[in-house]
């Protein structure tokens, strides 16, 4: 019986650092984070398939396929992947495509959660806490957010990659089959949705200055009518229209941003925005 191959803390840490440092740097429209994900697997690949060049190549190629997720909590996918590669290297019946499937299956939900919680909520909240300081001219208003946000997110990432590697090793299949992961993702999505609603209401602040003078002297302030219909109607409409457009036509980013520019300038020019 051949000796069991086993990753050490070292390789997991390397994977963590490579991905954390570089996951945005090489991010491209074509395959987003695939390059860095692959790079982060290199130390493990070298060790696990040390005696088999072909397997090394296969592994590299497997991790160069499309990958994208939110980097902070996405490190959990690295953990699971490392565990699966290890199993595979030890002869377990895990196909390359199984690994890819699990990566692909998890990356979407985790992106949604991370984007809404880590970036849309945590980051502005931390900045907000120190804005009064910054306003009063205190440099800590800039330094503390940098330190605190980085520290929190790195800690989460670090915890998740190690935790998922450990759990993943003992029972990947269990983890995925029992409802737990589903529950966590479901709950996090609920949270994410609520945050998006709250943040849309807080940060999308468009209103209309339009006033209509009715013959007879009275004036109709359009925004007042909109407010009595539904407060925040315009911001809500903006978010939902963009969302709806993306659902129909895909993320045509340029079109949307162009339209926003045109509407803003035209609206301002005509006095309706």
């Amino acid at each position: 019986m051949t000796q069991t191959k086993k990753l050490s803390k070292r390789e997991v840490n390397k994977a963590f650092w490579i991905y954390q440092l570089g996951c945005e740097e090489s991010n491209s429209y074509e395959r987003l984070q695939s390059l860095i994900f692959c790079a982060s697997m290199i130390p493990a690949i070298k060790k696990l398939y040390a005696d088999d060049k072909e397997e090394q190549k296969k592994a590299l190629k497997r991790h160069l396929t499309f990958f994208n997720t939110e980097g902070s909590i996405g490190s959990s996918i690295q953990g699971i992947t490392l565990a699966m590669e290890e199993e595979k290297a030890n002869g377990a019946d895990i196909s390359g495509s199984a690994i890819t499937s699990i990566k692909t299956g998890l990356m979407g939900p985790l992106a949604g959660i991370g984007d809404s919680v880590i970036w849309s909520a945590l980051m502005p909240i931390i900045i907000s806490i120190f804005i009064p300081m910054a306003k009063s001219g205190n440099p800590l208003g800039g330094l503390l957010p940098l330190i605190i946000y980085t520290a929190i997110t790195m800690y989460i990432s670090y915890f998740l990659i190690h935790r998922c590697y450990t759990v993943g090793r003992s029972s990947i299949i269990d983890l995925l089959q029992n409802g737990l992961i589903k529950e966590v993702i479901y709950g996090a999505n609920v949270l994410g949705m609520m945050m998006m609603g709250a943040l849309s209401a807080s940060y999308v602040t468009v209103t209309t200055p339009l006033k209509i003078h009715v013959p007879g002297g009275s004036t109709i302030v359009l925004q007042t009518i909109l407010d009595s219909m539904l407060k925040g109607l315009l911001p809500l409409a903006a978010v939902l229209l963009i969302y709806w457009y993306m659902q129909k036509k895909g993320p045509r980013y340029g079109v949307i941003i162009g339209t926003i520019i045109v509407i803003s300038l035209l609206g301002s020019f005509c006095g309706i925005l």
Partner: protein
């Protein structure tokens, strides 16, 4: 420190921050309050720099999310140009904010350029994988984007800071009121894109009611974000078991 030096440092800062080396670290580095810190250090006018930075930051608070790597607005370009100019010209915060808006949008296109170019390195990596050239993959991931990134980022900010002051002064007086206001409107609309993108990424239509609950909590009940976050965590925990139910139906 003289203006040339300031322009150089800003150019380097913008290059490094938008290199995105360090995932969340660089994400925060791009924020106006952090840029202000550096401007304050260099110019020696820390208090003023921070105050202006805080003002610009407010406009970018809603746009920190970048789902799929798409930024609805680039705080880093806006800040590395508007803050030093505002500080050295002694502009007040609202004027600095107006100045920042167009650069924020310009930054989006600069970032699209970056991510288009980045497609080159992944193709290089494909070949390196074939040859088991590990060093090549690392270089594709870290070195090349940094080098090319310098070429497309440093000059913009350096030039804007070096030549910009005069132009800005002329511009500020010349720009019509409606255009200024138009930029403001843009600033108030752009976060919508980020949030819509994130909802897309979450991708569960059946959960939209939670979106509306969050929205109503803020507009009607004046809820603070933190309150929504805590209630959100609680609700999320309490309803987590629905995961299986929803699946089934």
């Amino acid at each position: 420190m003289n203006n040339t030096a300031l322009a150089v440092v800003m150019g380097l800062y913008f290059w490094f921050a938008n290199l995105r080396f360090g995932y969340t670290f660089s994400g925060m580095l791009k924020q106006p309050v952090c840029v202000a810190l550096v401007v304050g250090l260099i110019t020696g006018q820390m208090a003023q720099a921070m105050t202006i930075g805080a003002g610009i930051q407010l406009m970018f608070l809603g746009v920190t999310s970048t789902p799929g790597g798409n930024v609805p607005n680039d705080p880093a370009l806006a800040a590395t140009i508007a803050i030093p100019i505002a500080v050295t010209l002694n502009m007040n915060a609202p004027a600095a904010v107006a100045l920042a808006v167009p650069f924020g949008i310009l930054g989006v296109f600069l970032d699209q350029l970056r991510r288009t170019i980045n497609a080159i390195w992944i193709h290089m990596a494909d070949k390196d994988a074939e040859k088991l050239n590990y060093k090549g993959i690392y270089a594709a991931a870290f070195i090349y984007p940094a080098l090319v990134g310098f070429l497309i980022r440093f000059p913009v900010v350096f030039a804007a800071n070096y030549f910009g002051r005069g132009a800005v002064q002329a511009l500020i007086t010349a720009i019509p009121q409606w255009l200024m206001h138009g930029f403001e409107v843009m600033g108030s609309l752009l976060p919508a894109l980020g949030f819509a993108l994130t909802i897309s990424v979450i991708g569960k239509k059946k959960l939209l009611p939670y979106f509306f609950i969050g929205f109503v909590a803020v507009v009607y009940f004046k809820a603070e974000i933190m309150a929504v976050a805590i209630i959100g965590v609680c609700i999320a925990y309490l309803v987590r078991k629905n995961a299986n139910k929803e699946e089934a139906s």
